[in-house]
Amino acid sequence: MSLLAIFEQALNGMIVSSFYALAALGLAIIFGVLRVVNFAHGEFYMLGGYAYFMALSALGLPPVLGLVVAAAALAIFGALVEWLLIRPVYDGRADRPEEYSIMITFALSILLLNLANSLFGPWPRRPEPLFRGRIEIGELIVSGDRLAAAGVAVILITALLLGLRYTWTGRAVRAVSQNREAAEIFGISVTRVGMLAFAVGAALAGLAGALMGPVFNVVPPMGVIPVIKAYVIVVLGGLGSIPGAIIGAIILGQVESFATILIPDPSRALAYKDAYGLVLLIAILLLRPQGLFGTQDRRA
């Protein structure tokens, strides 16, 4: 394999990793703060795609504002879902909070998928991308919509990490994810942080969907595969770990990218692409079930 081919695969892997990271970070933040595995995360991703599509087609907004609308819509939607459906998990109203959280997010996933089918139909929609055309880097040719979407994803991830590290709200989110009881006694409203985490998690999923919509089309089941990859990533990185989700996304993106070119027949190679993550998931569960950055006492 030539050096150029290796570089091309690595770049493709990094582009894909940035989208995976965006979706997985939302899942990791929600799990870290609320200890809820959000089975409706893929549908939040899908709603982000539709919100972006509607912002551009119905409101006539430019793509950048479309992203803002998608993020805001999903943040508000996430906050409402937390308030109406998730709060019983930790306010004592649910007798069996872990089972409740699984059932309620799973039911929400089915509901949203069917609602989207009824409202928008099963037809694929292709919204305007952030950037059209191709970008040439030496001999490498990269599609502009992918590279622009990856660039936005990297900016968003960086902003999120800086916010978590340097703002008081970010510290409060980290404190609640590390010790909920102690955070409460030091004056942090865990209810407010929980709502914020769910809103941010939903907005990140929605942004990932909005960025991917122009690349892979917007259809009701568009979130199914990305969310499976997001689960693989958060398990690989360690449930609830933010650095783990980023490293996990990079690993999965690179594994998919390089494993694909190891199979000589290109049509078969692409067919197996989604299986590599599942193989990785099985391997990590057997060898290091707590993930790369997880701790052994963390509850699954």
């Binding site: 008081w168 980290r174 404190a175 590390q178 102690a182 409460e184 006694i185 030091f186 409203s189 209810t191």
Partner: protein, 242 residues
């Protein structure tokens, strides 16, 4: 007559068929340092958990400076001036020592970052932790963790501190240092309720000792009165002690 800082009246807590607190009445004045003792399962930590908002009560009232605390969330009570520590240290292990302090110090939303950092560094110096300010809390020893929890409670500028078994597993030299700090905060006007199985510490620090047994207050007096109270001896040693 001045309003007590903490007034507990007819407090009842049940866990299923078990009555953990059986109509407890307790009044604590501003600046008191009260020891709360009793055998395991007597209701001490349950009482602290209700006062700090972790458990709802099944009956009775609790007033802090005349204001009811029942029904309020722990974070609201923390901002209202009720601080507490836990039996098992609960640090934010992946945050630095200073970040642990700032989480508490900035939670009211009104303190500036500079003022909170200055206060945090002062408290860390007071507890001999300033050189560890930028270390992760996970790297602290057990004793240093206890001191950080103390410092973090003080970041809230509390009027009342509820200390739950602060001396468990602590080296005697560190325990002596913790005694000094507790006495100094109390001398500065902070009301303290101290739960401990370490009778030496309780009798040395507290002018008033309250003894709970099976959810009832069986003795409320000076260390000498407590030591010589037959009901206290019965509770700890059984009725056939003498």
């Amino acid at each position: 007559m001045t309003t007590p800082q903490l007034e507990i009246s007819g407090l009842i807590k049940r866990f299923g068929g078990l009555t953990a607190l059986n109509s407890v009445d307790l009044s604590i004045g501003q600046g008191e340092l009260v020891g709360l003792i009793g055998p395991n399962g007597s209701g001490k930590t349950t009482l602290l958990n209700i006062v700090s908002g972790y458990y709802p009560a099944d009956g009775g009232t609790i007033r802090h400076s005349g204001t009811s605390v029942l029904g309020k969330a722990p974070h609201q009570l923390a901002r209202q001036g009720i601080g507490r520590s836990f039996q098992i240290t609960k640090l934010f292990k992946r945050l630095t020592v200073l970040e642990n302090m700032l989480v508490a110090g900035l939670s009211d939303g009104t303190t500036s970052r500079a003022a909170a950092t200055e206060r945090a560094m002062g408290l860390l110096a007071d507890l001999r932790l300033e050189r560890l300010a930028h270390e992760r809390a996970a790297s602290l020893s057990g004793g240093q963790g206890k001191l950080l929890e103390f410092a973090r409670v003080m970041m809230l500028e509390p009027e009342i501190i509820l200390l739950d078994e602060p001396f468990g597993g602590v080296h005697p030299e560190l325990k002596r240092f913790m005694h000094e700090r507790i006495a100094a905060w109390n001398a500065a006007g902070v009301t303290i309720i101290l739960i401990s199985h370490d009778m030496g510490s309780i009798f040395e620090l507290c002018a008033r000792v309250v003894t709970l047994s099976y959810g009832d207050i069986i003795c409320d007096g000076t260390p000498d009165e407590t030591r010589n109270d037959p009901a206290v001896l019965d509770a700890y040693l059984g009725e056939q002690h003498g």
